[in-house]
């Protein structure tokens, strides 16, 4: 039956089934990610974000929810320009966080 509209896949995440191993490892290197308040200033100012899907706010959220691969794919598009560092109201060294995401998530054996 054609209803004229359809269902998007559920974005629901069962936290019990999610491994936060990598996120916890990242938190050790970058304790500041715990103080991100998801304001989105980094995303709004992102140089790469104007042309590609890059959002540090979303990356942090993805990592908290165990969506490591998606976060890593996004981090790989970052230009490391550091504009987000200038605007983060929490003073998070976002550029360093982005480097650590690639480092911690890119190499399982380092954890």
């Amino acid at each position: 039956m054609n209803f004229g509209f359809s269902i998007s896949p559920s974005s629901h995440i069962m936290m019990d089934d999610v491994s936060r191993k990598r996120f916890d490892a990242l938190k050790k290197t970058e304790p500041d990610i715990a103080i991100c308040m998801s304001c989105g200033s980094c995303t709004a100012t992102c140089t790469a974000g104007a042309n590609a899907e890059v959002s540090l706010r979303r990356m942090i959220l993805m990592l908290q929810r165990g969506k490591d691969d998606e976060a890593l794919a996004m981090a790989s598009r970052c230009l490391l320009c550091g504009k987000c560092y200038l605007v983060c109201p929490r003073g998070i060294n976002t550029r360093h966080v982005l480097l650590s995401i690639s480092k911690c998530l890119g190499h399982d054996e380092d954890i």
């Binding site: 004229g4 359809s6 559920s10 974005s11 629901h12």
Partner: protein, 356 residues
Amino acid sequence: MIIEGKQKIWADYQKEIPDDHYFYVRSCIRQSFFPASEVVFLDITRNKLGKDFFENPYHTTCGGIAYHSDAIPQETAMTIIARQFALMHESGYENYVCSCITSFGCYTETLETWREFPELEAKIRQFLWDSCRKELVKPKYLAHASDIIYKFRNEIAAKAMFRLVEAKTGRPLRVVEHIGCHYAKMFPSKGVGGAEYPYVLAGMIEAWGGEVIDYPERRQCCGFGFRQYFVQANRGYSLSNTYKKFESMEPYKPDFIITNCPGCPYFLDRWQYVVAEQTGKTYGENGFGIPVLTYEEVAGLVFGYNPWDLGLQLHQVAVEPLLDKMGIPYDPAMKYKGVNGKELGTPAAPQNIRFK
């Protein structure tokens, strides 16, 4: 944990609810979606609990649907609301109780806006006088009808014929409670338990013997949203929201869902059919859906009303599995018979979700 401290914090989340003498206003959409709920509410509160509820026949829509779909400006919606308040005062009441969550949200928003901007209140007062020659007198107290049932939940439990337990085994029924967003998410202090711990429906479930399910998307919106729903192409947003909630609650095997909003029970109920038609998936047992009931319907079942008098045959998802679990007798032959045995017609059978 320091219990006294917790109790002190919890006290801030409580809402005073008056004991008696209420001016009751119905909901436009609930009367068509769940036609017996308001009648049952009045019957329970007036005749079983002995409370004074007054209805004024000149009450109209609160304008909420038009307001939320940007068809009328806020001043127009406020003037409509000011007129309802004037009717309450003319009828000699000061406790205003509304059946609809959309209305409740509009009323709280209006009262808070007037508090912040008294000059706007003065303007609306003048609009009301110019258009209707009526005097605006604000209610002393504003409650949602579910607050009233919550307040008297233990009195209802004491008179209950049925409890929210599986009759055969004595197992408490697992219940999902879904609270309308406009109940406490906009103005948390106006709802029992605030926005973080809304307790209005959980209190009823516990008092009547059931077990509250805490699942990840518990506070997620049902997906109704006037703008999402009114435009056909946007309905996917609404449907996807509901779908996400069902995916989230599924592992906890809910026996039924209780709601206190007009839109939530409607969409949680009807979208189960659309999800089943589009994906083949159903969330209840044996190909059925999960029954979705208003709190008045649940109170009615607990009190022992005939399920067909509660209008449960007008739900999309069949309620019989729930009635069987609770041990409530019903006559299947009377399901689609209206008042005085009038034939209501039988709906066409959906392909993927069982309805009998």
